[in-house]
């Protein structure tokens, strides 16, 4: 172990010499440093979240006031997308497909894995960098073109994809614009695969001496499980995307059955394919993907709660086991997205049972989070508020999954606004809320400055209220039988009574945007002019606070040695109420 320290120290020396030779491009653009790459991911994914959100704000106009011209912006769109400023069905479908794709693949996953994982994970295990820095850089530089290609599809011939983010064939094979989406997806999948290999190897191989697996912070565990999910779940989608690409470009018929008659014309493909095959392969990825969206935020919440209750969280091992259990189970539940798809009704019963089983570890994690509050000395600072908001909001999201996971009630609720409400409660008020908390929590680490608290409180309360205003009405609409993916809900009689709720949702969504402005200002202002903080402003125990903020290249001046578990707060006999992992005597 002494040898190791020498190595790291030597490595660090060579760094400081190399430092001066780096150009701006090497340092900030094509950087190999996990911290810069993490920040690149952070800024890019936050921008993509904003873009995806903007698409939704446009769509919300069409939902609240169907058939009326979109004010101001409507005139800027080309006439074929929005004749007279009224959003057309094609344009609405494009916005919907791209909203889903951007939010999931370009926003939340890169934020949770690429940004937080890249920046925080190596620090928390005491590593000088990721295991494969070049691959790390390649991962970002495949992600960005993939994202830009997706955005560019709006102006490319054929327009953006308009078959939903799920891209069910045969619609996706008939519709224009899908090929660019597929190429973009292959780039994003490649990026994720490179990232996940890197995370797994880093976590398993680059831990500081003394950092056993059961001493790793829960955030690191969540990233490890997430990376395994990405690694094993993405290739099936890649294969499925290749087959869809073949169908579109080489006119094969993997997903096209015989005798398709499209708008009165016999489709030319030879036929013999299975449309349901895509759905199976897509959801084989996309269900583990849900946990990819969810696990890193859960890890972040555990970090923040442990830090701000000043006590070890309840049931560390339960949480670790539950995360692994979720990871394993998530591969055998996918077909609960397909109960009414024409899939075998007998097989549905199998997926019903596995779906109910996977709720067990999720409930266990949520319970551990709540029980962690018991006996604590709770500090209500800005990150803690976001972490606490995660609990009831994710609770609502999880509970409303129950009637969707049950085959019988899913017959009614499938593809209604109830589904939209459910997964937005999980992903937006759950994952995104927790990750914004993570931004406030680790901002001092990234920039050595704190974000403004007053703006933080304003951002928190405004966001929380507006998010509920957007998503809660969807449950009522779903129960009234309103379908998703309609650009004009008023075309159906049964949607009319709940139409006013669309106005509530839309107004809340636009207010939600306004409440993000203080955050954007706060983020960039604090980056340069925020209040300077000490090295460990939250008095936290994990290793990322054992190095300067922001950490220098190579992170630790001396490879830390780990003496205890990650959350030893209020340790009996210690002088302070936190006992850092790397300090031997406290």
């Amino acid at each position: 172990m002494v040898k190791k320290n020498n190595h790291a120290a030597a490595a660090h020396d060579s760094h400081s010499h190399a430092h001066h030779e780096l150009t701006f491009w090497q340092k900030y653009v094509f950087s190999l440093d996990h911290k810069i790459i993490g920040l690149q991911y952070l800024i890019t994914s936050l921008i993509f979240l904003l873009i995806g959100f903007t698409f939704m704000m446009v769509m919300r106009w069409s939902l609240a006031f169907p058939g009326t011209p979109l004010p101001v912006l409507g005139r800027l769109f080309p006439a074929d997308l929005a004749p007279n400023g009224v959003i057309s069905g094609e344009f609405y479908n494009s916005l919907g497909a791209m909203h889903g794709t951007i939010m999931v693949f370009l926003g939340v996953v890169p934020l949770g894995v690429g940004a937080f994982g890249n920046y925080v994970l190596p620090l928390q295990i005491g590593a000088p960098d990721m295991a494969f820095p070049r691959m790390n850089m390649a991962s970002y530089w495949t992600y960005l073109p993939g994202g830009l290609l997706m955005l560019a599809s709006f102006v490319l011939p054929g327009g953006a994809a308009q078959s939903g983010w799920t891209s069910y064939p045969p619609l996706s094979i008939i519709n224009p614009g899908q090929t660019v989406w597929l190429v973009g997806m292959v780039l994003l999948i490649t990026s994720s695969l490179m990232g996940s290999i890197n995370f797994i190897v880093t976590t398993l191989n680059l831990r500081a001496p003394g950092m056993s697996l059961m001493r790793m912070p829960l955030f690191v565990w969540s990233e490890l499980v997430t990376s395994v999910l990405l690694l094993l779940a993405f290739p099936p989608l890649e294969a499925a995307a290749i087959m869809q690409f073949m169908d579109r470009v080489f006119h094969t018929s993997f997903y096209i059955p015989q005798g398709l008659v499209v708008l009165g014309m016999l489709h030319k493909a030879s036929g013999g394919g299975q449309p349901l095959l895509w759905q199976h392969l897509f959801w084989f990825l996309a269900h583990p993907e849900v946990y990819v969206l969810l696990l890193p935020p859960m890890g972040i919440v555990m970090e923040i709660i442990a830090n701000n209750t000043r006590k070890p969280p309840h049931g560390y091992k339960t949480v670790v086991a539950s995360m692994c259990g979720i990871g394993a189970m998530s591969f055998v539940v996918w077909a609960h997205h397909m109960f009414v798809s024409g899939m075998s009704a007998t097989l549905s019963n199998f997926f019903l049972v596995t779906t109910m089983i996977i709720s067990v570890p999720s409930v266990a994690i949520l319970t551990c989070m709540v029980f962690s509050l018991k006996g604590g000395s709770i500090r209500f600072n800005v990150p803690m508020l976001w972490a606490l908001a995660f609990l009831p909001m994710f609770g609502i999201g999880g509970l409303t999954g129950l009637p969707l996971g049950l085959t019988a009630t899913d017959i009614y609720l499938h593809d209604t606004y109830y589904v939209i409400g459910h997964f937005h409660y999980v992903v937006v008020t759950g994952s995104i809320v927790a990750m914004i908390g993570g931004v406030y929590y680790w901002f001092p680490k990234w920039y050595g400055r704190k974000m403004n608290d007053t703006l933080g409180y304003l951002h928190f309360w405004g966001t929380l209220a507006c998010m509920n205003g957007v998503f809660f009405p969807m449950f009522i609409q779903g129960l009234a039988g309103q379908n998703r993916r309609y650009y004009d809900p008023t075309a159906h009689l049964h949607n009319l009574p709940t139409q006013p709720l669309h106005v509530v949702s839309s107004v809340s969504a636009w207010c939600l945007f306004l409440f993000q402005l203080p955050f954007i200002y706060n983020f960039f202002h604090s980056m340069f002019a925020g209040e300077k903080t000490e090295e460990n402003p939250w008095k936290a125990t994990t290793l990322e606070w054992a190095c300067p903020s922001p950490p220098p290249h190579g992170n630790f001046e001396k490879t830390p040695r780990v003496y205890r578990g990650p959350y030893e707060y209020s340790l009996p006999g210690a002088k302070t109420d936190w006992a850092p992992q790397h300090v031997e005597a406290v």
């Binding site: 005798g259 036929g271 392969l281 394993a328 591969f331 077909a335 097989l347 199998f350």
Partner: protein, 133 residues
């Protein structure tokens, strides 16, 4: 293949020790099995039998390559464990064909030239065995 003697140093650095004689023997076995599987296919067995024999031989060949060329035999248990996790996730790959099999009565094979009329209602017979208690 616990042949540790020739290259203990290599093993210590995490590299598996090579064993040339063994590689040649495996090579012979692989060639033999390749020829065998083609010879069996000349008998034109019915699909079920042909699939069973061909997959059995292919799996055996693949395990030879895995165990000896890829040195999975005696490999670090972390790698074995990870491959175990991967195999677990492959369960799903058996469920998708199972679904296709269960749906065989619902799949319509349309003749593009001349459609054979509305297909017979498929569920009349299978509905009963599928009945849940």
């Amino acid at each position: 293949m616990a042949n540790e003697h020739p290259h203990r140093v290599a093993a210590a650095h995490g590299h598996p020790p090579p064993n040339v004689k063994l590689y040649i023997a495996i090579f012979g076995a692989l060639i033999f099995l390749t020829i065998l599987t083609v010879v069996v296919s000349w008998w034109h067995l019915p699909p079920a039998g042909a699939i069973a024999v061909a997959l059995l031989i292919a799996s055996f060949k693949a395990s030879l390559v895995l165990a000896f060329f890829m040195h999975l035999k005696g490999e670090h248990k972390l790698i074995i464990a990870f491959l175990g996790i991967m195999l677990f996730t492959c369960i799903g790959f058996f469920l998708i064909p199972l679904d296709q099999h269960l749906l065989r009565d619902r799949t319509t094979h349309t003749e593009v030239k001349e459609e054979g009329g509305a297909p017979e209602l498929p569920q009349a017979e299978p509905a009963k065995p599928q009945e849940a208690k």
